[in-house]
């Protein structure tokens, strides 16, 4: 497999998109979204952050053009993180006796 070279045009396009997302997340934080749905502010902030992170991984870090083996490592890293987060939080959430 020959190396893929990402063009500066695409890099700049990604950068501009990331800036738009940053502006959006700052604006969204000033609006009370929790009145529509409890915790919506957090959800919106994290969804935007995840979109930004995905763009960085795919294009700045070239994961989109990487070999399948490298992509597997990336997915495994995120998957292990998900195990840690969801199993621990699930444990905390399902302990009615532990009311702090």
């Amino acid at each position: 497999m020959s190396e893929h070279i990402v063009s500066p045009k695409l890099y700049i396009l990604i950068f501009v998109t990331l800036m738009v997302f940053t502006g959006t997340t700052v604006y969204a934080a000033t609006v009370d979204l929790n009145q529509y749905f409890a915790g919506l502010n957090v959800i919106v902030a994290l969804v935007i952050a995840t979109c930004k992170a995905t763009l960085v991984v795919l294009f700045f870090m070239h994961a989109y053009y990487s070999t399948k083996r490298t992509q597997l490592i990336i997915i495994a890293g995120v998957f292990w993180l998900a195990i840690m987060l969801f199993m621990t939080l699930g444990d905390y959430a399902s302990r009615p006796w532990d009311t702090h």
Partner: protein, 233 residues
């Protein structure tokens, strides 16, 4: 050569996978405590300055762009541009750390550093020391009094907000440490780049340190909303 390059990238990603879990543990701790002490964490979070966090986000994503451009320059054989973009990345990284230092200093002045002299009420007791006056002071007072009633006393407020600031300094501090390591690597890269070492055939160090730099950027992409943003409304 192609295979060598592929294994280097693969190895770098395995290292980054361990880094994901390293930071992941802190994010998990933050989530649990933030959920448990939501009201105190909200008020504590509002004392850090949104403007600095937002500027730093722009600066750091900008440095990711220049880092990516440096990789591109090496891939197409523009040796001078590699050096220029590496230096730009280093400058932006240093600006980020400088702004972080200003923020840490503000926290020091406001007695928001956990441990010695920590006091959430310091600013409303000594408004001139924190540049507080007029309506901002009244709002701050009202907010803290309201919080004290809800939580059940100033001891609890101080205890739980020290937890917030411990996590704030722990997470941003670990991130800043990664930035310092990254900046040191960039200095070495710049030195090598001056010698014209990076070419379309050999640019693995630029590519891999680039991966590290982007990873540190991603950590900040999550730290910014979690620490600065979600209690602003």
């Amino acid at each position: 050569m192609e295979q060598q390059k592929e294994s280097a990238t693969l190895g770098m990603w395995i290292f980054l996978a361990t880094e994901i879990l390293f930071f992941g543990g802190l994010f998990l701790t933050y989530t649990i405590n933030r959920h448990t002490y939501a009201q105190v964490f909200a008020v504590s979070s509002r004392t850090i300055v949104l403007k600095w966090g937002a500027i730093n986000t722009v600066v750091l994503i900008g440095s990711s762009l220049t880092m990516a451009m440096s990789v591109w320059s090496a891939q197409v054989g523009k040796k001078k541009l590699v050096t220029i973009f590496l230096i730009l990345t280093l400058v932006l990284g240093t600006v980020f750390l400088g702004i972080k230092a200003v923020e840490y200093h503000d926290k020091y002045v406001e007695h928001h550093i956990p441990g010695l002299n920590f006091d959430m009420y310091y600013c409303i007791d000594n408004p001139s020391a924190c540049d507080l006056s007029g309506k901002a002071l009244e709002a701050e007072k009202a907010e803290l009094e309201d919080l004290t009633d809800k939580v059940g006393g100033s001891v609890a407020v101080n205890a739980h907000s020290q937890l917030f600031f411990s996590l704030y300094f722990g997470m941003t501090g670990l991130h800043a440490l990664h930035m310092i390591v990254g900046a040191s690597l960039l200095i070495w890269l710049t030195k090598e780049s001056f010698k014209g070492r990076f070419t379309p055939e050999y640019n693995t160090p630029v590519e891999n340190i680039g991966l590290y730099w982007h990873f540190v950027d991603i950590v900040w992409i999550y730290l910014f909303p979690l620490l600065y943003l979600i209690d602003r409304h």
